[in-house]
Amino acid sequence: MQDFTIGRRGAIGAGLGAAGLLAAPRVLRAFERDGNRKILVFAGGQPVPVLDPHVRYDWSTRMIQQSVYDALAKYVNDPPQIVPWLAERWEASPDQRVWTFHLVGNARFHNGDPVDAEAVRYSFERGLRLNKGVAWMLKDVLPPENIQALDARTVRFTLTRAMPSFLTYIPMWFIVNPRQVQANIANNDYGEGWLTTNAAGSGPFRIRRFEPQSVIHLDTVPDYWKGWPMGEQRRLSGLIYRIVREPAARRALLQRGEADIITEIPADDFEVLRTMRGIRPEDHRGMTTFAITMNTTRGPTADLNVRKAIAHAMDYDALIQIHNGAATLMTSPFPEQIPGYIPVPGMPRRNLDLARQFLARSSHPNGGFELEYVHVQGLEDPRRIGLALLNSLQALNIRVNIVAQPWPTMVARGSRAETAPDMVSVYVTPVSTDPDVIAGKYHTRAHGNFWGMHHLTDRQLDQWVDAARVETDEARRNALYADIQRRIVEVQPEIFGMLANRRWLMRDYVRGFAYCPLRLTGEIDTYPLWIDAA
């Protein structure tokens, strides 16, 4: 057979060619620029499939909505405060049924139309009639016809019953431009189809490019009606939200300077990156509660003493270790930042003697049974928490079967008491500072929701929760919530876990970052951000 050889010159040429091909697009840079102004790049793992502010919200979606729309009020600071935004002031009737908002006079939508009372009325009506997304917050107390535009700058909401928490939901209701929406209605959809990928807002940013799965490029509005806190000179040209699903890729982007801020960072990566030159960590106490919900209607966990035994056998230190110390154990079913919070005496901590005493009083005094622990497939922390639970319960002769399931499957299973797993890991982030958001998790009406997978039925608790949500006297309301917190711990529908810190990593030239724990998981307030570098 004939031999074939590649000459030395050919081999070198091929090698240089390949190296040149790879080396050609070498990239070294800091931040993106647009002329003299800078563009800030934020990388997160969650897409923004729908922009419509009345149809959907999750952390990434709300972050973009908050950037392009304004609401009557806004959450800022830690602990969270509600500050006026499109409304310069408001007042409530003594019975807290009638709320009147007075609008600022200079707010403009991006197309130049004024933001007036009619736009506010239309936006709330639209949200309620669509009956999606934010509608659940107000639909039971606010019929659309009870919203009135009294004049160009005054809008009144007349609720069907007292709702002391009304104001806490207002920052979630963004105002759309009725003229733009009406011009894009198809099949009586209230412009839903159009607003999925377009915006009709008055916020500090406007959409330049919307690729729901990959890139959302926002431009700052130069003459934003509220001005820019960093001054016109320092204002960004825009902000890019880049969807990068893999944590390793997000980390690489930050290291390379392709992203200025990243979120959803594994604990170990955070520890490595936080000390690197040019990178600044933001590490804040969160409001997202983690609990292991137990099925209170079926199997061994239907027995209160078994639930108490499990809660006292759990190794709570492991929860903190899993987060490399960046978490705080819950001292109540309520996060500390929620009004009415009290540290509940007797909150379970690991005490094996007490755990054995509870188990001895149960219908399974010697253990010897197996419990299923379900967590969302692909999430590492709940899996490791499952391992800690497995180790903890061995002391009680209780076996744990750790099962990873896709989120839809887990939620579908948990929606019915008959199919809900014995134990499920559940994270809950409150969307407002209203204590009812947390207390309602333990009401019978929570059955069917993912946080109601305990299927707890406690008449006393229901009664208190119902009373507290309409109580207008703050002292009496707080007293009721104190009772509610103690009662929840008493009936132990779940192992109360920890509040993991909210964390971001950013380049050290990023300025204006303002933490507010009420934002959802990775969400940031884009409005005050700027870049301090030449």
Partner: protein, 336 residues
């Protein structure tokens, strides 16, 4: 040949219907409530029901199926409950990215796999052959997910030669859309800076996706070449003084290419399906990423749409291969 093609097309229709049935059943037996998921965690029951009604999920399963099939016949793949857009619109948006990636990977696979297979056969049992076979086996065995991250760390983080992910730099505006394939569109528009940016972004995902394909082509081509090179007509050609390069590249390769073509056809469909992992690692906004996002959200119409699209591509690729078989081998043409 025409009768053969028509027969295959009819069979393709039947197979597609089978695929529709399977994907519909699999999607609906999964314990999940897409309406509840789309409504969000805080939604009340009546809000969930609103969505259920809007998407026809409140109807009996057989009715949902008939409506879906009727829609398919009119080119309607249903509506995504997450993006709220028609699936066909979403597919039109994301498919060009996947097609671009697969075309690049396939080109790499063929351009590298065929010559390497030939060289390996010619140098049978010598060091380059052993090395090539070792590399081929390794390339098939490497998990795309892991290998992709490894390449990212090496070429993007440490060497800083290539971008980490995406199709273009975030601040680079895409070219005016013609096909949706950025490389093609930017070349047509004469936007060479965008073209170069797109090439640098495509290198790593295309490489990772091409490796298993390259390895398969290499191994099949090598085996066929070895067999053909030992056949009588090759010996005769050599005896007649035909130059060695011509013997290998013209006489032998033509016959060795038949099974290679079959592999290319099979790999085409496989690559479309396996872009899921590569697109996830490199955040390549194609149908794989779209399908994964939809599956996580329990949004089954997009998953079914993507499955059908990949199935259809698979079938078309096989049909094309069958036709090419006939073109390359006159004996097959006669018998068909």
């Amino acid at each position: 040949m025409l009768a053969f093609v028509l027969k295959r097309l009819a069979l393709t229709g039947l197979m597609l219907f089978g695929l529709v049935c399977i994907t519909f059943v699999v999607s609906n037996v999964a314990p999940s409530d897409p309406a509840a998921l789309a409504a969000g965690p805080d939604a009340t029951r009546d809000m969930v029901e609103t969505i259920r009604r809007e998407y026809g999920l409140d109807r009996p399963l057989h009715e949902q199926f008939l409506r879906y099939v009727a829609g398919l016949l009119q080119g309607d793949l249903g509506r995504s409950i997450v993006t709220t857009r028609p699936v066909s619109v979403d597919l039109a948006r994301y498919f060009p990215a996947t097609l671009e990636l697969v075309l690049l990977s396939m080109t790499l696979g063929v351009l590298l796999g065929v010559p390497l297979g030939m060289a390996s056969a010619v140098l049978k049992n010598r060091a380059p052959d052993h090395l090539t076979r070792f590399v081929a086996v390794s390339l098939v065995a490497l998990p795309a997910f892991w290998f992709g991250i490894l390449l990212q760390l090496l070429f993007s983080v440490h060497l800083e030669w290539l971008p980490t992910s995406g199709r273009l730099d975030v601040a680079t505006p895409p070219p005016p859309p013609i096909t949706g394939m950025i490389l093609f569109d930017s070349a047509v528009a004469g936007q060479w800076a965008t073209f170069r940016d797109a090439v640098s972004h495509a290198v790593l995902p295309a490489l990772v996706l091409s490796f298993p394909c390259l390895a398969s082509i290499l191994r099949v081509n090598r085996a066929e070449m070895i067999e053909v090179l030992s056949s009588d007509y090759v010996t005769a050609a050599r005896a007649h003084g035909v130059p060695p390069l011509r013997v290998v590249c013209v006489h032998a390769l033509r016959n060795a290419m038949l099974p290679t073509l079959a592999i290319i056809g099979l790999r085409w469909g496989w690559m479309l399906g396996s872009t899921v992992l590569v697109e996830t690692v490199f955040d390549w906004p194609g149908i794989g990423l779209y399908a994964v996002s939809a599956a996580i959200a329990g949004d089954f119409k997009p998953v079914m749409g993507v499955t059908l699209l990949i199935g259809l591509n698979f079938m078309i690729a096989n049909l094309v291969v069958d036709i090419l078989y006939g073109v390359l081998d006159p004996r097959l043409r006669t018998s068909s």
